[in-house]
């Protein structure tokens, strides 16, 4: 028998460290495991038998529960049955289709998994791997949804003395935490994905650009990289193959814009994270002007699963050109918030009601913002839209990095629109005027009116600003800020102009 406690940022923020400390003061040792992504149940303590099966489980554990847990640990088997596992039978988890997150929260994060698949791939023709990526239909999970294989092929086909794989772990969108959970819960999955990407494209150096707001992920990655080097997973002749690959990590410094790939690469070179004009795209001239494959954490961590089940089987998952699984993240005012990995295609309704179980406040859901701070606010009528790239585009929204933020009926959409401008003002890199000035003007225009009483002419000004920002911004920071603003105004006009003033 042994005790194990979940350990990731969710668990720690919910108090796992004090619980762990209290259990240890009883003279009972326990190990740490990753999180399953049932965030509202954290911290979770499990009692495992010799076969690593969960015998008992305690959720939302507080320090005052520790004597009870210790009694069950030391006590008779009957007491164990009273505290049967909740997580393994919970529909939130059992209905999921976990391919990227298959090991997270199940196996200890720093336990080296089997690398049979990797060994096998390292003996294949790189072109065959890229062909597999094409068959899989994988599209970038960082936000833009661009077909991954095109970038792989471009990097592979561009002659250069040095090529790079860069993992974008800047995860700045509010309502998203899948990158963090993967890095904390199964860092070897990411490392494996990066090695495969390096081998297929001919890149020998990898970088992880990690946001500074994720110290726990840094802890786990530091350890995982060290272990990977000592296991010959990284360095010279990976797993005794002819291929050598290194990974270094750089921590960001609190700039949302550094999630944009050209800004990220500037920052990785140790400079200001200013946006660069594309073309050239990073796949042709990226880091130090060399061909660079920039991918989001989840894109890279999807790669092992693709070859595990086979690219054809992967392409069968999902709907149309939205292939494979997506780790959706549901957050905000929701009872059951957390990570839900499913093939593309569930509706917003399914996620917020079947999985999320409605609002935490108990009030009706009024809107869901999807795809981060540059994403649209949806009206209730849109909640039956399936989560595919295509269906979302049809309603002027995007899946982005897969985050759904739930708001109840106390939300003030005017305040949200104002915030969208404000966030753009704070995070703008300052390179172009529409974004730098437009965001400030937009915020001021909305702010001068108290809630529910915006002058109709102001909305014309705001719409003008949106048009300029959308059309004339150099990057999507300024270019997409109009999306949350316009969706708020168009779908919730009552929050801007009260009936008396219209």
């Amino acid at each position: 028998m042994k005790l194990q406690i979940s350990d990731d940022s969710f668990a720690r923020a919910m108090g796992s460290e004090s619980v762990e400390f209290a259990i240890k003061t009883h003279g009972v040792d326990l190990t740490r495991n990753g999180s399953l992504g049932l965030a509202w149940l954290e911290p979770i303590v499990q009692l495992l038998n010799g076969d690593q099966e969960i015998v008992s489980e305690f959720t939302n554990v507080e320090v005052k529960d520790v004597p009870k847990i210790v009694n069950v640990f030391n006590g008779d088997p009957a007491s164990r049955q009273i505290h049967a596992s909740v997580t393994t039978t919970h529909p939130f988890l059992t209905q999921q289709h976990r391919l990227v997150f298959d090991r997270a929260g199940v196996q200890p994060p720093l336990k080296l998994p089997s690398f049979k698949l990797l060994e096998d791939l390292l003996s294949q023709d790189p072109n065959q791997i890229i062909a597999g990526m094409e068959t899989s239909g994988l599209r970038g999970r960082g936000g833009a949804g661009f077909p991954a294989f095109i970038k792989w092929r471009t990097v592979a086909d561009t002659p250069a003395d040095q090529k790079y794989v860069v993992c974008n772990a800047d995860e700045g969108d509010s309502g998203t935490f899948s990158d963090r959970m993967l890095m904390e819960g199964d860092p070897f999955k990411l490392i494996e994905g990066m090695i495969i990407a390096g081998y297929a494209t001919g890149a020998t150096q990898g970088f992880i650009y990690l946001r500074s707001e994720y110290p726990v992920a840094k802890e786990y990655l530091d350890h995982a990289l060290e272990i990977a080097y000592s296991a010959n997973l990284l360095g010279q002749n990976v797993l005794n193959s002819d291929f050598s690959f290194d990974i270094d990590m750089l921590i960001g410094a609190g700039a949302y814009i550094c999630g944009e790939e050209t800004s990220l690469l500037e920052s990785l070179e140790g400079k200001r994270g200013q946006i660069k004009v594309k073309p050239p795209v990073p796949a042709i001239a990226g880091l130090f002007e060399k061909p660079t494959l920039v991918h989001n954490v989840i894109s890279l961590a999807s790669v092992p699963g693709i070859f595990e089940i086979g690219p054809e089987a992967y392409a069968q998952l999902g709907v149309g050109r939205s292939t494979g699984t997506m780790p959706f993240q549901i957050s905000g005012n929701v009872k059951h918030g957390g990570l839900i990995e499913l093939p593309f295609g569930p509706t917003v309704n399914e996620l917020i009601y079947n999985y999320g179980n409605g609002t935490l406040s108990g009030r009706p859901i009024r809107t869901v913002q999807i795809g981060g701070p540059l994403g649209a606010y949806l009206s209730e009528a849109e909640f039956d839209t399936p989560l595919t790239y295509e269906a979302m585009a049809e309603i002027g929204a995007g899946i982005g990095h897969g985050g759904l933020v739930v708001f109840d009926d106390t939300v003030d959409l005017k305040a949200q629109a104002e915030y969208a401008f404000e966030f753009c003002e704070i995070e703008s890199c300052g390179k172009c005027t529409p974004c730098r000035i437009g965001s400030v003007r937009g915020k001021e225009a909305l702010r001068q009116f108290s809630s529910n009483n915006v002058d109709a002419r102001t909305l014309v000004v705001v719409e003008d600003l949106c048009e300029v920002m959308e059309k004339a911004s150099l990057c999507q920071m300024g270019g997409m800020t109009p999306i949350p603003v316009r969706s708020a105004i168009q779908k919730f006009p009552e929050d801007f102009i009260s009936e008396q003033t219209t």
Binding site: G175, F177, Q329, S331, G332, Q416
Partner: protein
């Protein structure tokens, strides 16, 4: 995996030769200047203006370039931090769980505003945009401690 103790060295500003030898190791690393500034931030909690000439010299770039990099990133500050920093998430998922009101309550509790510090330099309130805890917000970070489902009462400066 122990908690990092902050600001181990505040008060004892390094002399240029010491600084130079500490930073030299970062020069040949990709992103060296970012590594170096992050290291200084971790070590001293901030980057003193008086260090900039040495940093510039070590990396063989202009002082203006160093300043340019420092000013671009929210994390790099030219002022020493207060004894405690409370970062309150201001982003959407936390807003939906009352982050705006929570911010006001924390401001009242500690007697200072977001973006400011108390006159005795004990507490500084800072805005942060997402800690990745959005499913269990509103989220707050007190020094190195993450706090989910934060309430004014759950925010305290003691560690345990």
């Amino acid at each position: 995996m122990s908690k990092k103790v902050r600001q181990t060295n505040t008060g004892s500003s390094p002399i240029p030769s010491e600084l130079h030898s500490n930073l030299r190791g970062f020069v040949d690393r990709v992103g060296g200047l970012m590594h170096a500034l992050n290291w200084l931030k971790g070590e001293y909690g901030y980057i003193d203006s008086s260090w900039i000439p040495t940093i510039a010299e070590t990396f063989n770039i202009s002082q203006a370039e160093v300043r340019g990099v420092i000013s671009f990133y929210h994390d790099f500050k030219l002022e020493p931090p207060a004894t405690h920093t409370i970062k309150i998430c201001q982003a959407e998922a936390c807003q939906s769980l009352g982050a705006r009101k929570l911010t006001k309550d924390i401001e009242a509790k500690f007697g200072t505003n977001l973006g400011s510090r108390t006159s005795n330099n004990q507490v500084e309130l800072e805005a942060i945009y997402c800690l990745g805890l959005c499913a269990v917000g509103p989220s707050v970070q007190v020094d190195d401690r993450l706090i989910a489902r934060a309430t004014p009462d759950s925010i305290s400066l003691s560690t345990e």
